[in-house]
Amino acid sequence: MLSSTAENLFWMARYMERSENTARLLTGLYHMSLLPARRGAQAGLWEGLFQSEAERNAYLAKYDAFKTDPVLTYMVLDRENPSSIRSCVWSARENVRATRHVLTTDMWETINSTWLDIAKTNYADMQDMGHHEFLEWIKVRSHLFRGVAHGTMRRGEAFEFWRMGVFIERAENTIRLLAARAHTFKPTGPISREDTATLDYYQWGTLLRSVNAYKAYREIYKSQIDPRRVVELLTLNEEIPRSVMACVEEICQVLEGLRPRSRCFEQSRDLLNRLQSARIDRVYRTGMARFLEDYRAGLHDLSLQIQKDFLMIQ
């Protein structure tokens, strides 16, 4: 396959996955914004979305406050915001357009009709439909695209590059989701005080729901919601499809199939080992934020190495 085609497939998958993850993230935050305003649960809620100074500034250049309506406009429909859902769907669709000769017609039609629908949506439409419903629709369109890809693509290189994009993006997103809450981690101490527990319940419960892991948490831990266990579930548990562990396992599998003797496969194995040998209590003691940041950097390096090994960048 052409290296440029592989690159397009990789990014097509990443952008589509990113649009879904942004929708998930926003759904979670939106729900939290509707909770009773107890003990500042809402303070900094929307602002927390903008983790870097550059992102904050880009937002503040257009809007003056971190409130539901402007933030959702900016994150969902703003065509000048390269990470808005609209922009992600557009980028995904352009990458499909560049590779449609290796994709199935169904894939093209699915993403193109998603794009055509989102292109004509404005904020009023989204309000009419309901924020929750609209974000849900985005998620469903992403599910549909993934299903179509799974159900129609020939199992060959193109399929593998698509898969790789999906899982790298998903792993990064799960980390980002946790990192956004990293400042609330307290390195020691049990969750004793009643009001903290309530807040944790809301915040971490919402987070779990946004990645469809709430039920799994209940089944596995059978206890009240403890941030530490949430992190454990979403990083180290291989059974949860959106956990970092599950994603990295998939990446290793893909790379082993494509190029077992390559730098990038080695790197993916190292990343997997890091998770396999990690224990949540130790991670907690050394600092959650740092652990997540290091791992994010590791994934980023892997992504670059993949691009190098498959000649996507010269």
């Binding site: 396959m1 052409l2 290296s3 440029s4 357009r97 000769h101 193109n112 055509l116």
Partner: protein, 485 residues
């Protein structure tokens, strides 16, 4: 349905004879059409639009943002060609392309047609599209134009004129294929009982032609399609054809020259390329040899072409055969190279570089269509009867200043075909572009691109100027059991 009285006497309608009878090729269709309500047709029309948009059969409009993708209007009423008419068109188109290929081989070799005094040397040698780098180069099977579009119009029941030849990188064939696909999706009942010749083998024939011209000694050639990229107006077609043929769609940046061959960058390392079906113009193909600013091409490609290690389709320098000044000589080429009389006629053409012709054109400009020799897409053109006095005077000035740059033709009464427009079903002028493939043999897929001028009375069918397209049906020969004589 009635034709407007004004148009009744002179203009040939594809469906209706002058006495109001339905022509034989349209009989079945017409019977079906009378059962359809206008409302249903409009519904189908809207459905077609939706289908085209969903499939992304759009062309890009430059300078607009992500919304800059437009549809070429599609008309749901097909243009139908009888088996007998088609066999003439087919023979004529093949003959013409064979002659053009012979001409191209000749002018890049012995130039016998110039020595014989048939084509003036300066028309060839000073032609912008002439590529001296191609001189003396032997191409596989002597084919230069592997894909050609021969634009044909009809003026009466017997006469088809060739309006122009397109032997550079003719486009539009995806519309021939997708229009059919769409018609079959919209009106399956129409096809169930009809005898419409299928067009869907085009891609297979194209691939076969491309494989047939691989460099000598290459058994299982790697063929690629080279596109200027996804923002080119014909990108959909490039992707579509690559997909249909199952070959890689490459851009200049995917290719590089190494030790005398061309390679593409793949995930498994460099892979040699043997045949390039390029949809990039001559001037952009190799920045070392042609346009140094081109970011679309491959540096050093021409030297590989010259060494015969890669075949570029269409060959570079084919444009010399299809400009409007050379057009006048095509009938002579057919006689000279093939020893045959042309099956299809040229439109009577005045070359303004000849003083007598120029005088005639200046005197009769109100009745003529004046075209720039190198113009295309309906630009740089004056339609005398429709033009204002000021426009005509302006063209007269230009003609006197640069007579070599213009030709003129009588205003043709292009045939009309019933078309669904706002007022209902009304006659609109059409042309036809069959696609001719040359490789191991020369062939035409039964069909083509019918373009239709959607504005009432308009003769300009170009999509850039408000033209649309129709599905083109060629009826297969009726199966008749005849007794042997």
């Amino acid at each position: 349905m009635n034709l407007s009285d004004r148009e009744k006497p002179k203009i040939f309608d594809e469906m209706h004879a002058a006495n109001g009878d339905i022509r034989p090729a349209y009989r079945d269709y017409s019977a079906w059409l009378t059962d359809q309500s206008l409302e249903r047709l409009r519904q189908k029309h809207a459905q077609a639009d939706l289908l085209f948009r969903r499939l992304g059969i759009t062309f890009t409009v430059y300078g607009e943002d992500e919304g800059g993708e437009r549809l070429i209007p599609f008309d749901v009423i097909p243009r139908i060609i009888s088996h007998e008419e088609w066999s003439v068109l087919e023979r004529g188109a093949i003959q013409r392309v064979d002659a053009l290929n012979a001409f191209l081989h000749d002018i890049y070799h012995e130039q016998e047609i110039i020595r014989a005094g048939i084509v003036p040397a300066e028309l060839v040698m000073t032609n912008e599209a002439f590529q001296p780098q191609m001189l003396g180069l032997d191409l596989p099977r002597r084919v230069y134009a592997h894909v050609s579009g021969v634009d044909v119009v009809r003026v009466d029941d017997k006469t088809f004129y060739v309006l122009e030849d397109n032997v550079r990188t003719p486009s539009g064939v995806s519309y021939m294929l997708e229009n059919r696909e769409t018609m079959m999706r919209l009106f399956p009942d129409l096809f169930a009982q009809s005898v419409v010749a299928p067009v869907d083998r085009y891609a297979e024939y194209l691939l076969r032609s491309l494989q047939a011209v691989a460099p000598l000694g290459v058994d299982d050639p790697t063929v690629v399609l080279m596109t200027p990229g996804q923002y080119n107006s014909a990108y959909f077609e490039h992707a579509f054809l690559a997909m249909e043929m199952g070959i890689e769609l490459v851009e200049g940046r995917d290719l590089f020259v190494d030790s005398g061959s061309i390679f593409m960058r793949t995930t498994e390392g460099p892979k040699r390329v043997d045949v390039i079906y390029r949809r990039v113009d001559d001037g952009f193909i190799d920045p070392l040899a042609f346009n140094p600013d081109s970011a679309l091409g491959v540096p050093g490609m021409l030297s590989v072409v010259r060494s015969g290690r890669v075949t570029v389709c269409n060959a570079m320098g084919t444009g010399v055969a299809d400009d409007k000044a050379m057009y006048c000589f095509v009938p002579d080429m057919i006689r000279f190279y093939l020893g045959e009389e042309p099956v299809l006629q040229n439109v009577p053409t005045y070359s303004c570089r000849k003083p007598d012709d120029l005088k005639y054109v200046l005197d009769n400009i109100a009745d003529l269509v004046v075209k720039e020799v190198h113009g295309s897409g309906g630009y740089g053109m004056l339609v005398g009867p429709k033009a204002s006095k000021a426009e005509r005077d302006d063209f007269k000035r230009r003609l006197k200043a640069e007579p070599d740059n213009y030709i003129a033709q009588p205003t043709l009464a292009l045939s009309t075909c019933p078309t669904l427009v706002e007022e209902g079903i009304a006659p609109r002028h059409v042309d036809l572009r069959p696609y001719v493939l040359s490789g191991e043999k020369t062939r035409v897929v039964p069909g083509g691109l019918t373009r239709v001028a959607l504005k009432s009375g308009s003769l300009v069918v170009n999509s850039s100027q408000g033209g649309g397209t129709k599905d083109t049906w060629v009826l297969e020969a009726p199966v008749v059991i005849e007794e042997e004589e």
